[in-house]
């Protein structure tokens, strides 16, 4: 590990990508993620590792550039924020349909429409319930610190290539913009073309040695075949759900009440737990780290212990639907959150816990 550095979450994404041996980054500037584009153009990773950095003409183009590089077996990624992510939904559906591995980072801001440049978590539905057309899933990681921004980039690439599926890092303007200490691993070299040929026999880089041609496509005009493909995709998603659920439990051992929150809301909830416990309220936090696959069972397991659950997110209440699915009516579940770029304070969350769950 390197020395401890003080960095913005957005910059940590960029540095982590260079260090984990990424091959290409294609992106378009948008607040509050522009520091990633700026950091990577400033760093000139083409001189450090040979990694390509290119500013695209739009998010539509950048996600399709990612498609082209990923179809060649290269580690490619893009980053954006909510309105840009909406433009990428077509590309993400094609990437999922063509079973291509890539990483996409969404530094979420308030919507709908042009909305605001301040932090939000209102892209949860778009990310984990579809977004683009067709039955597909994005493996979704939700960092809650600058350190996790750095750690999840190599993890996202690992999962993307393990399952040949796009992986999303769903973060927000708080984590993207705030500075914290962060440590990086040593440089992992980029794969050589020979290694790619060996590791990814499905990739399109020319019929090396006269091998049979490879085709990357998401088209199947025969519906019987397309159904078979969908069945195969769903089987892959069941594997992801079996193997890749990640979450963290904080002060849950004696908890009588539970917060469920991810990303920056989980950080605010940690402070709220301190305030609540000072008043004698035993509350814990279950923090989903993967939003897809979602930790339904871990949340369900808590229902034998807690009297009520407050789902806290910066939205009108999106993830709360998954908490309710997990809980299935066994205990009370309510949502609390600010919208449109407003960030809840620990005091507000404690008040919501009291009025919506404890007294409610």
């Amino acid at each position: 590990m390197s020395e401890i550095r003080l960095m913005k979450g957005n910059e940590a994404i960029g540095e982590a990508a260079i260090l984990c041996g990424a091959d290409a980054y294609y992106a378009y500037p948008i607040t509050p993620q522009s520091e990633i584009v700026e950091y990577l153009t400033l760093q000139q990773p083409e001189k450090r590792t040979g990694m390509v950095v290119l500013q695209a003409e739009s998010e539509v183009a950048s996600i399709n550039m990612v498609y082209g590089a990923a179809a060649g077996g290269k580690r490619s990624f893009t980053t954006s924020s909510s309105p840009g992510m909406s433009l990428m939904q077509e590309g993400l559906s094609y990437i999922a349909g063509a079973e291509l591995p890539c990483v996409v980072v969404n530094v979420v801001r308030g919507g709908p429409g042009l909305g605001t440049i301040q932090p939000s978590q209102a892209d949860y539905f778009q990310t984990v319930k579809g977004g683009g057309h067709g039955d597909y899933k994005l493996i979704t990681l939700a960092p809650a610190s600058v350190q996790e921004m750095a750690d999840f980039v190599p993890l996202a690439f690992e999962l993307a290539f393990k399952y040949r599926n796009p992986a999303m890092i769903l973060t927000d303007g708080v984590i993207g913009q705030m500075m914290e200490k962060v440590q990086f691993p040593e440089q992992t070299p980029r794969l050589t073309d020979e290694e790619i040929t060996e590791k990814y026999p499905w990739a399109t880089f020319g019929r090396k040695g006269g091998r049979e041609r490879n085709i990357i496509t998401s088209l199947n005009l025969k519906s019987e075949l397309q159904e078979q493909f969908n069945i195969k995709l769903q089987a892959k998603y069941r594997e992801v759900e079996k193997n890749e659920v990640r979450y963290e439990k904080i002060q849950c051992d004696d908890a009588e009440y539970l917060f469920v929150a991810y990303g920056s809301s989980a950080r605010t909830c940690q402070k709220t737990i301190e305030l609540a416990r000072a008043e004698g309220i035993k509350v814990g936090l279950l923090r989903p780290i993967t939003l897809y696959p979602y930790p339904y069972k871990a949340i369900d397991d808590m229902t034998s212990q807690v009297k009520g659950i407050l789902s806290v997110e910066m939205s009108a209440g999106q993830m709360v639907e998954d908490v309710r699915l997990a809980v299935n009516g066994k205990v009370k579940v309510e949502h609390y959150g600010r919208m449109g770029g407003m960030v809840s304070s620990p005091g507000e969350i404690l008040e919501a816990l009291k009025t919506k769950i404890i007294e409610g």
Partner: protein, 257 residues
């Protein structure tokens, strides 16, 4: 006597006047009989075979009639979302700068939904080959109006004929990209006669060879027919193309640097 002649007796090396390139598969073409796509596919694959670059070439198929190009082109292929092939090609070429990358796009794909991707890939001077098949209509979806549909031309979405008042003017993408410094070779050809096929093939070969010295986009338009969409016999559609398409989309080399 005729009954005694077997096929094997006829197919002998000394009798062959034409050999299909192995870079075309034996899959039955999905194009209508008489359509120019088949010839355009053949000469593109012949160029790749003759240059000996199969092991280092990747094609990008678009959305449109040629969405299934990967069924016929016996090389590594990627299928791209509608209009996005130049962006996909950019992403691929940047990580494989020594490979040959080409897109094969129709007029709806390149000149309507993919205009931004086309212009910007050209403006960046991506070191790729773009093959643009312009038949003035959306063939795949059943003959709707394209940005390249000629004035007065009847299609299923301009049933009374295209008017400038409603739909503007046919878009000359080839002339537009020729103005961009990132584009080094621009030519417009056709594949309706043997002489024109030879010229088109020569231009396609040059467009691939240009990738060797990294000087930007090579852009080849092929003005083609769509006998089904135009509701004509193949012969009539070729005559109509010569009379009506060529005056608006004149053949020749527009730029060679």
């Amino acid at each position: 006597m005729a009954e005694n002649i077997k096929l094997e007796d006829i197919i002998k090396e000394e009798n062959k006047v034409f050999i299909k390139t192995p870079l075309l598969t034996d899959n039955e073409l999905s194009y209508c009989p008489g359509c120019g796509h088949g010839v355009a596919h053949r000469i593109t694959m012949e160029v790749i075979e003759e240059m000996g670059i199969m092991e280092d070439t990747i094609g990008i198929a678009p959305v449109g009639c040629s969405v299934l190009a990967y069924e016929f082109m016996n090389i590594d292929m990627q299928q791209a979302a509608h209009g996005r092939a130049p962006a996909v090609a950019t992403g691929l070429k940047r990580v494989y700068p020594n490979k040959y990358v080409f897109t094969y796009q129709g007029d709806g794909d390149l000149a309507a939904i993919g205009t931004a991707e086309t212009i910007h890939a050209c403006n960046r001077g991506e070191n790729i080959t773009i093959i643009f098949i312009n038949n003035g209509i959306y063939g795949m979806t059943g003959g709707q109006m394209a940005p390249t549909t000629l004035p007065g031309m009847k299609t299923s979405t301009s049933p009374y004929g295209r008017t400038q008042e409603l739909a503007g003017h046919p878009l000359k993408m080839t002339e537009i990209v020729a103005t961009l410094p990132g584009v080094r070779f621009v030519a417009r050809h056709a594949v309706d006669t043997p002489a024109r096929v030879r010229k088109a093939k020569k231009a396609i070969r040059k467009a691939f060879e240009n990738q060797n010295d990294n000087k930007g986009v090579s852009f080849i338009e092929i003005v083609s027919n769509c006998n089904s969409g135009w509701k004509m016999t193949p012969r009539k559609s070729n005559e109509w193309m010569v009379e009506n398409m060529f005056p608006y989309y004149p053949l020749g080399v527009l730029k060679d640097e």
